[in-house]
Symmetry: C2
Amino acid sequence: MASLTSLKVEKRLLGRQAAEAIRASIMSGALPPSERLLEVQLAKQLEVSRGTVRSALAQLAHEGLVRQVAFTKWEVSGTSVADAWELYTLRAVLEGFAARVAAERGTPEERRELEAIGRRLVQSVQAGHYEQTTELDFQLHQQIVAMARHGRLADQHRVILQQVRFHMVQAGFLPHDYEQYVAEHEALIKAVVGGHAELAERLARSHNDTEVEVLSKALT
Amino acid sequence: MASLTSLKVEKRLLGRQAAEAIRASIMSGALPPSERLLEVQLAKQLEVSRGTVRSALAQLAHEGLVRQVAFTKWEVSGTSVADAWELYTLRAVLEGFAARVAAERGTPEERRELEAIGRRLVQSVQAGHYEQTTELDFQLHQQIVAMARHGRLADQHRVILQQVRFHMVQAGFLPHDYEQYVAEHEALIKAVVGGHAELAERLARSHNDTEVEVLSKALT
DNA sequence: CGTTTGCATATTGTCGACGATTGATTTATC
DNA sequence: GATAAATCAATCGTCGACAATATGCAAACG
């Protein structure tokens, strides 16, 4: 009975559940950017009170998925080119630092798990499962962040990563050059597992930098 | 009638005002860590409704100044040694990146303003005005972040910096070796103003690293 | 015709009271 | 004395109402 107390505290808070529901709709693309969100309407649909909806919307605003115009409206956020630059540069910095600390502090188990994810990623690419590949890519980077055991870093990274996914949905994510992609990942994993902190940071940053180039080209 | 539209939208939202009031009490040390915060009591003191207090507390929880124990209580956050490590390492990373981008993108005016703050800082140190020196130090780093013109970076940095200040209040900030301090600042300013991006990042990071060493020693 | 003023309306902001839920404390029972 | 049940205080969530505000439209005015 060591590690099974987690789903209680969070699940019964209606505000969080409401936020999850709305977040899912936004991330799936069902609610497009600039879509207006009415408190009363959401309250009816979710069968909760307006106050609960407001707390949910406040959370989503903090996550950057929703924008509040005071006394006027709530709406789904859009992502401009400048936003994309912010997201990918900041992601690069955070993941670079995470890779450095992970290389320094990661446990043997965590390193093995990282390698396992890497192998699954390679298999997924070879099998041509693009959707699963994207998922494994995120999982890989999250594993590196988790290895750093840095709560605040993890929090900030989670928010940024969610916005990256949101942006991908909007922009219509295009799977691109997977060969270089996999090669970069493997080098990064090797550096983290091998405990080469500086190298790991450099690789993680440049890895993301190549992505930002691809995306800024795709958006101009 | 050009520039007088600013004080409207934010200031009159009671939730924000309430958050400001509570935040000020916490940052001043009037509300010490682990101090319990009762919704009804705060509502009476601030003369607002409980709902408004809750939105204020939720905001402060996002900022890390307050902890929510679901269905049980709100309390002022404490700062452990591990927290201090997180704060200072993350601050180093964010300000390092900010210094890099500031060196690349800062306008001439912004560079002059940065130098001006640097001069004021030196004067303040020489005059022995420790409190003012601390203030100018924060101002200097915020100017560098502002020069990066990176909204998300600025947001995250603001939160971290506030927690750093909070931690300083708790730990009883001790002004230490100011000579090396000033020398580091001057080198950093020079690098940013001179547009030496890589150097600026390195200096900003190592600058914070020396601080984390001092503080981790002071706390053990 | 263009501009300004005022009004109608929709939406968010705030309030206060109420019951439900939860965690901690105290009491009762064995 | 240990365990179970009752009690209590605080938060969580709901509801209904009203106030504050922004926006669009229409009337008044030049």
